[in-house]
Amino acid sequence: MAEGFDSALLEKIKNGETGAFASLVKRYQQKVYQLCLSMVGPAEAEDAAQSIFISIYQSIRKFEERSQFSTWLYRVAANHCLNLLAKRKREKTDSLDLILKHTGGQLPELTSADVTLARLAEKESVRSILGKMAEEERLILCLREIEGFSYQELTELLDISLDLVKVRLFRARKSFMRIAKESNK
């Protein structure tokens, strides 16, 4: 039923009815935005979610419906978030290198603005715990806990075996609980 609705919309969009894409956005915006919020954080979540829908629109004619549309959408979304995080990590390293270069190897002290930011992050405890997890573990945990995907769906979405889904999810939850305990100390 749900997939039938998606297929009908996809056909319209592929036939040039651009307006039909709005229905698709409306249908999935909440889920995609939530995933972005948990994966990349509130500052970049909206931009990320917009970009995900734009790439979906741009490659929609290439989607041959071999898998469910929602699986494909989440795969695009997940990859986009992972790419963003990887880019952020690179930039962080770059800027740290730059700071060290300019300060002769000395790290500057935290300003009061930095401290306020750190405290704000603490308020959002679940999100801040997620932020401390490895990206792949964070992703599978969000897909399971927030998006509610079954193990079978996770194998398709992440393109990994059922055993690996079980193990990775187990590890992700252990990390989550460990970090939660540490931050409660």
């Binding site: 939530q34 917009q50 187990f170 989550f176």
Partner: protein
């Protein structure tokens, strides 16, 4: 089975991903293993935390912002301004110019034809009513409408 394996099973059990017989086996184990029981409680607590996260509302006007970007990319004409008003006809400039001059020529021909016919008629009518509207002007008005 090792306790570690049961721990892994506890997670699958929590997710409703164990078949009936595996579920029964785990439930038997849970009765005698406080560690696995505690794990199950922790999983429930963690999920409760996520429930709050899942309710974050989508930013206002999100869909509209996406669609504005989509219309900019769309290959079909978007419901937005698209350059000069003549572009609307979808014809190249020289074709438009040619079409326009043909229309004008034909228009003038008929206008002239109509005007002279009208003058003749009004000359006849002048004998009946006092025509202070010049036949020529009238004809021009009509041809204007035709054009």
């Amino acid at each position: 089975m090792e306790h570690e394996s049961y721990l892994l099973l506890t997670h699958a059990y929590f997710d409703g991903e164990l078949d009936a017989s595996a579920s029964r086996e785990l439930e038997r184990h849970l009765l005698g293993c406080p560690d696995c029981e505690a794990e199950l409680d922790e999983l429930k607590n963690a999920r409760a935390n996520f429930a709050a996260l899942a309710k974050a509302p989508v930013p206002f006007g999100f869909k509209e912002k996406v669609m504005r970007r989509v219309w900019d990319l769309a290959p079909s004409p978007a419901p937005k301004e698209r350059g000069h008003w003549l572009d609307w006809l979808g014809l190249p400039a020289w074709e438009l110019a040619a079409a326009l001059s043909v229309t004008l020529l034909v228009g003038f021909y008929f206008a002239f034809d109509y005007a002279s016919a009208r003058t003749q008629r009004s000359e006849n009518a002048l004998q009946i009513s006092l025509g202070y509207d010049s036949a020529g002007d009238y004809a021009m008005e009509e041809t204007n409408d035709e054009l």
